[in-house]
Symmetry: C2
Subunit: 501 residues, 2 copies
């Protein structure tokens, strides 16, 4: 840059004056000039250093990503609607105190808004707590709803694996006092339907129950006060080997090695109805009231899942803990299984794509009289699903259309802008999806090229002759076929040629 060169030249001048033992006043004058030049340069640099980016852990969705995103949403929403859910929406931020005390160790990840006078606010961390607040505030004791919206976590982003600071959650919840395990089974059915529908490959839905976990902790000799913290250690078993989790329990959390080892034996168990039956006979667990309740309900759940025909993908897994504080009963998490290397014995999990559980106490935390509304729900972790769909689409080289335009209104000669405007207006008013180039005199070739590039299937061409004859030339882009269509039947012709049926 010219300015930098000038600064370097000035520095050289100063150096030489000093070397030559020049008049101190003259040196001082040149040094001042140098400092001024440097300051100016610094200011300019500061100005140019404006960073053009989205905030850390967030991203834009361009038209192509949006097309993929909308496909996934469509599958999810149609599943939620198939199960009779209503839809609600809540503000992106809540009073700070609404979120306080709901997320355990994760609370530090909440985004707070600046205190600009007025209420203290935080961005929502999930959709479950706002849902509970909504129920309590409106005294709703019975609802089945879905909610699809962005949530915010100041977590360490890992964007290639679909972990963002701003991300969508797609939640389906059933609130109300019902007979046991019927809504819980429906939540699992929903996960099964969505993951099957999106064709994400093989998956397994791990299921456990907080009461079984707590009972297990009790019979293993974990003191009551350590239940939650030991639970959050167990929660790490999907990312850490048992040995590390064990040393966290014993070292950091002060659990006795014997208790840890007893836990270690349980958490490696997973299976189906047979395992539930076995544990119901377990001499220690069966003596614990909580565990017995949990196991009884787990048995009922598996009976319902058998009727739904989905037990093949469901695994009762004693290592599943889930991090959040508010769960009280059944918990579950769906993970995709890696299939690339097909001769490995046990497929490797590539991460959770859905999770949820029962939280019977959360609404009561918001009710002035503590009235409880039992809830169970599922949250689909859509970002990881996007990542997979994006990668797959890239590999397939399928061309994704990002618009639905049916026809381009084009002209073959110059000076026909007004005719194009008149025609496109007629088409819009008739509900046809139509575009034109925003040029007075576009070349026909450019207009045809635009259709090739964007996937528009038809071109309606107006020319002097067509105008005289009261027709429009309709060109089918794929076949290059051209037909003359009377102006009054153009709309119908376009509809027929672009209908999906």
């Amino acid at each position: 840059m010219a300015e930098e060169a000038a600064v370097r030249a000035q520095a050289e001048t100063v150096r030489r004056l000093k070397q030559d033992n020049a008049d101190p006043d003259e040196i001082a004058k040149e040094v001042t000039k140098l400092l001024e030049m440097k300051a100016q340069l610094g200011a300019d640099e500061g100005k140019q250093k404006f960073v053009l980016k989205t905030p850390k852990g967030t991203r834009d969705f361009g038209p192509k990503e949006m097309a993929i995103r909308e496909r996934a949403f469509k599958a999810i929403i149609s599943c939620f609607k198939r199960h009779g859910a209503e839809v609600i929406d809540t503000p992106v931020f809540e009073l700070k105190e609404t979120l306080t005390g709901k997320y355990g160790e994760d609370s530090k990840l909440i985004y707070d808004l600046k205190d600009q006078g007025g209420e203290l606010l935080s961005l929502r961390y999930d959709l479950t707590v706002p849902f509970a607040r909504y129920l309590a505030m409106n005294k709703i004791t019975n609802i089945k709803r879905y909610h699809i919206a962005k949530v915010y976590r100041r977590d360490n982003p890992a964007m290639t694996r679909g972990r963002y600071r701003e991300f969508y959650q797609c939640d389906f919840d059933i609130a109300g006092q019902f007979d046991p395990m019927i809504p819980d089974a429906e939540c699992l059915k929903i996960v099964h339907e969505i993951l099957s529908d999106l064709q994400l490959g093989d998956f397994v839905i791990k299921v456990n129950d907080r009461r079984i976990l707590d009972g297990m902790f009790a019979v293993c000799g974990v003191p009551d006060s350590k239940f939650r913290t030991i639970c959050s250690s167990v929660d790490k078993l999907d990312k850490m080997p048992w040995e590390e989790v064990r040393s966290e329990m014993v070292g950091e959390k002060g659990l006795s090695p014997e208790a840890a080892d007893r836990i270690g034996e349980y958490v490696q168990l997973h299976g189906g109805l047979d395992l539930i039956e076995r544990l119901l006979q377990d001499p220690k667990l069966s003596q614990n009231k909580l565990a017995k309740e949990g196991l009884g309900d787990m048995k009922l759940l598996f009976e319902y899942l058998t009727l739904f025909g989905i037990t093949g993908k469901v695994s009762f897994d004693l290592s599943l803990a889930r991090g959040l504080d508010y769960y009280t009963g059944v918990i579950f998490e769906a993970v995709l299984l890696q299939q690339e290397n097909e001769h490995v014995e046990e497929p490797v999990s590539v991460g959770s794509v859905a999770g949820g559980g029962r939280y019977d106490g959360l609404v009561g935390m918001f009710d002035p009289k503590g009235r409880k509304v039992p809830c169970v729900g599922v949250s689909i972790g859509i970002e990881r699903i996007f990542s997979i769909l994006e990668q797959r689409l890239e590999a397939s080289e399928e061309k994704v259309r990002t618009t639905e335009t049916q026809v381009l209104v084009a002209s073959a000669q110059k000076k026909l802008l007004e005719e194009r405007l008149k025609l496109i207006s007629e088409l819009w008013d008739a509900g046809i999806k139509a575009e034109m180039l925003y040029k007075k005199n576009p070349k026909l070739l450019n207009q045809l090229q635009y259709c090739e590039d964007t996937g528009i299937p038809l071109v309606a061409i107006v020319g002097e002759q067509e105008l005289k004859d009261g027709v429009v030339k309709l060109r089918i882009v794929a076949t290059r076929e051209e037909v003359s269509v009377p102006r009054e039947s153009l709309v119908e012709e376009i509809r027929i040629r672009t209908s999906q049926c």
Copy 2:
């Protein structure tokens, strides 16, 4: 409350001791006790004072509001798609510096996030600045996109009139170097289509041009340095009478009374092509380069709008200014007209429902080399539209369904839960929208009542006899008619009976 009574009793004790000139130590002891009790009561009150509400200026959308909202979105999105727009999405927050210097006097309404270490962030104030940032960041010079998302303004809420702190904007913008006024005319066509489609009653789209405004300010004798602030005074003319605006200009902003009066003459003008022609002949305005350019383009715009057949609802209005700093050319705003009192001569405007304009310099503000991307766009102010649709629906007493459930799976006798689960699972798997009550043995009457309440049109009833015969009894809720349907044709039968065709 018992605690409050105890405090009152203790206060009475202290009062009596003082009255009786009791031992000062004893008084002190009882006063201390009183203070402690009060403090405790205060703490308890603090605990109970947990406020169950959404943040100021925000609201939840329940299922009914969502049903209305989705109707409006559907009309808007289908219009945007009809015009060939792609869709994008950006994060809810931006780097604070991205928003700096874009909104003029309105910048004080921006929500900042708390500095929790890391980048300084603000919630987006509109969708236009994030769009410009997106274009510059991805070096996109040519796109037609829509974006529907929430924006945030710490404004004084007026919720009954649809002014919120969190609200949706539905933006459609065309970016790129094109022949003049073609994309601008399309934006106005879009406003016309959407407002007509939503049947919100009569409306007018006011149009002006920043260049005409600036030219007008110049010929009226407004100093260059006061253009923007005088412009924001003019912007208040839709809410304040001219006299008040004039005194703001002269009093607060130091404009000469003569200049203000000259502005006063212009800003009362509104009309169509005739007015444009007249102003092109105006001895003062026609001498101003900016005004002449603006008027020339305005004439072209009206020619295109004539081809679109929408000039009947468009008014060239010299009082329209629009608050935001970034506009450079055409600006417009759609207002609904009150029609209740039909014999008033000029209909009264009830507020803006759409606005937009040309902003050719905004993208360049983000480009390191200042490369410009001309843009024009429109933003639909959906909240006010919701308010109107909500009020109308309430008045009409139309029953809004909040689910799309086609059939309720019910049982006529007890102990048929398993059969209901099996049947509903079959229906879900076949893509039928089905619900059941989450009870082991629901009464038939309750099941039928649920259909009445929620608008479910069909009931599939299983009973001992039906199971034996391999049929399901299908009840049509509206007519109470019941037909026996073989199990294998149930799905088809439900589809036929609930198809809209």
